[in-house]
């Protein structure tokens, strides 16, 4: 019962942030220097006169009061109507439907690689602090973190497409195999940050009394590390992963454009060069919503992972 109350509280906060996100995204249109009505007219090849512009604005609903436009737009989003593209007059939703899965696949597998790579490596580095391995990993991650992700992507293209010819230069022509390089690039640039975070979190945990206690009782080291220490580190590690997800989503925009993957980032860049404002709006709203959803799930999972948190949640409610 209390847990339900807690969930309701959380959902309330979520709705507030959702309203904030959509409001800000809606306001973005007002930054645009050109008039959507004018773009609409130019597209059809009609010379825009003041009269025609007024009529088009009327048709597009651009001269209604601001709150009405926002409410209408919000209603549209909730019912899956993201407006029509200024470029080709088709529903933005169609374009989104094509692009969203690509970005989701990209982020999902990158996140998977990051976790599989960073968690064990971070734990081992912490366990053998200041060993040769630890110092090497720290050095490499330091360098990687200073490397722009687009350079890493181009380096991969050069090595594996141009020199070794393992993959064609354009990823989308390559089926599921086309995702390998983009995923690796995204995962590597994020791991450089995440490995260091895992290491620090685990180092703190290793200094605790129960670790020494278990060692003295002869509990096998791998069991201490991967059963008990890892379990106790889950919460901070998950939180950090959630934070890093923002960087990951930002990275998809660059990586998709380099590897020509038709995801949200590529869609956005095409829309930007065509001044297709509703599509840019859809891009920012949807990526923010994905980010929100991920962090909400992580938040909920705390209670499931750690009974102490569950008790806390119940108290809070």
């Amino acid at each position: 019962m209390r847990l339900i109350k807690y969930s309701i509280n959380k959902t309330g906060q979520l709705i507030l942030i959702f309203l904030g996100i959509t409001f800000l995204s809606f306001c973005l249109t007002y930054l645009a220097p050109s008039d959507p009505a004018e773009i609409q007219l130019n597209k059809t090849g009609v010379a825009p006169t003041e009269e025609l512009l007024e009529k088009t604005r009327e048709e597009m609903g651009l001269n209604r009061p601001f709150p009405v436009q926002y409410a209408d737009w919000l209603k549209g989003i909730l019912s899956g109507d993201m407006g029509t593209s200024l470029r080709n007059g088709k529903p933005v939703l169609d374009e989104l439907r094509k692009a969203l899965p690509v970005t989701l696949i990209l982020t999902f597998f990158s996140m998977l690689v990051v976790t599989v790579l960073s968690v064990p490596l971070g734990i081992v580095c912490a366990r053998f602090q200041d060993s040769f391995l630890d110092r090497t990993v720290r050095f490499i991650t330091y360098l990687l973190a200073s490397l722009p992700s687009f350079f890493l992507a181009l380096l991969f293209l050069y090595l594996f497409s141009v020199k070794l010819r393992w993959f064609p230069v354009i990823a989308s022509k390559n089926g599921s195999k086309g995702y390998i390089m983009p995923v690796l690039v995204l995962a590597l640039s994020l791991s450089s940050w995440y490995i260091r975070q895992v290491r620090v979190v685990v180092l703190d945990e290793l200094a605790k009394g129960y670790v020494a206690g278990e060692r003295s009782r002869g509990v096998p080291e791998w069991q201490i590390l991967f059963r008990h220490v890892l379990k106790n580190c889950m919460l901070p590690l998950l939180t950090l992963l959630g934070i890093s997800f923002a960087g990951m989503l930002g990275g998809t925009t660059i990586v998709e454009n380099i590897f020509s993957l038709q995801g949200l980032g590529k869609m956005a860049m095409d829309a930007i060069s065509a001044r297709d404002y509703p599509v840019i709006q859809a891009y920012v709203v949807w990526l923010a919503l994905i980010f929100l959803a991920i962090n909400f799930l992580i938040d909920l999972s705390y209670g499931w992972i750690d009974p102490r948190v569950r008790a806390g949640q119940e108290r809070e409610a």
């Binding site: 904030g20 722009p148 989503l249 660059i254 060069s273």
Partner: protein
């Protein structure tokens, strides 16, 4: 020891910052002079880092572009630092509904994946250096506002602030004479550590074509242009990337040494 290291790194950084400004004087060629006869030439004695697809000297363009790449990031950090600190102080010291409202606003801004918001804003405004810088300001200001606010909240109840208040010091006096100096050092450290992130974000925006426009020389844009010649002229990507990489490393190492030095003196870790 750590203090000495930080001082050395700061001096190197200072020299580097001067070099980025005067560096263009040492350019062997005019960075905007194109000659199609010399297009895409590999590094040689005449063109130490090769030429691009329009026959422009890559070395000269890197030297020319340094100013934009580095100083636009410094400009962004300076703005978010000032704006964020001001907002944080107002929210933290003022408290009340204004504080609540400002913090709610930062929460909404932080709910966006930061780079995505910058891309969308720069995209809506249209490509260009000014718009790219503005979008980065929107992307970065929240960190400073939140940090400044939390630092002010810590300081607000210190005895010396209370003493100043009891002595009848004006609000402005308390804010700028007593609180501001108290929060300045951790705020500045955050700013220094952030510069490399901003440089990378800026390069990312120009790489996507949202920053400085051709034919201006800028590192991210140069790399983006080189992409089409990846197979035949990899130096077009390599050298500007290297310049970017080394610059970011320099700022990172300096920032880290500064943090170590401050921690040694018992400053609060940020």
């Amino acid at each position: 020891m750590k203090k000495k290291k930080a001082l050395i790194m700061l001096s190197i950084l200072f020299i580097f910052l001067i070099l980025t400004v005067v560096g263009r004087r040492f350019a062997p060629h005019d960075p905007y002079q194109s000659s199609l006869m010399d297009a895409n030439r590999a590094p040689c004695a005449e063109y130490p880092l090769g030429t691009d697809n329009l026959g422009r000297c890559v070395l000269s363009r890197i030297l020319e572009g340094a100013t934009v790449s580095v100083y636009s990031a410094l400009g962004v950090v300076a703005v978010v630092f000032s704006v964020g600190t001001l907002i944080g102080i107002v929210a933290g010291y003022g408290g009340g509904w204004l504080d609540q409202l400002l913090m709610k606003i930062t929460v909404v801004f932080q709910a966006f994946p930061s780079f995505i918001l910058a891309v969308a804003i720069a995209g809506m405004l249209g490509p260009g250096l000014k718009n790219a810088m503005l979008s980065l300001v929107v992307m970065y200001w929240t960190t400073y506002a939140r940090l400044a606010r939390s630092l002010v909240l810590q300081l607000k109840n210190e005895t010396y602030i209370q003493a100043a208040r009891i002595c009848g010091a004006k609000k402005r006096q308390i804010l700028f004479r007593h609180i501001l100096p108290g929060i300045l050092s951790p705020m500045l450290l955050t700013a220094v550590l952030d510069i490399s992130n901003v440089i990378l974000s800026m390069a990312g925006l120009s790489f996507l074509g949202l920053g400085v426009q051709a034919p201006m020389a800028e590192w991210g844009l140069m790399i983006s242009n080189g992409k089409a010649f990846l197979q035949t002229a990899p130096w077009l990507i390599l050298f500007p990337s290297l310049a970017l990489f080394l610059t970011v490393i320099l700022f990172n190492v300096t920032g880290d040494s500064l943090r170590d030095a401050l921690n040694e003196r018992g400053e609060t870790d940020v």
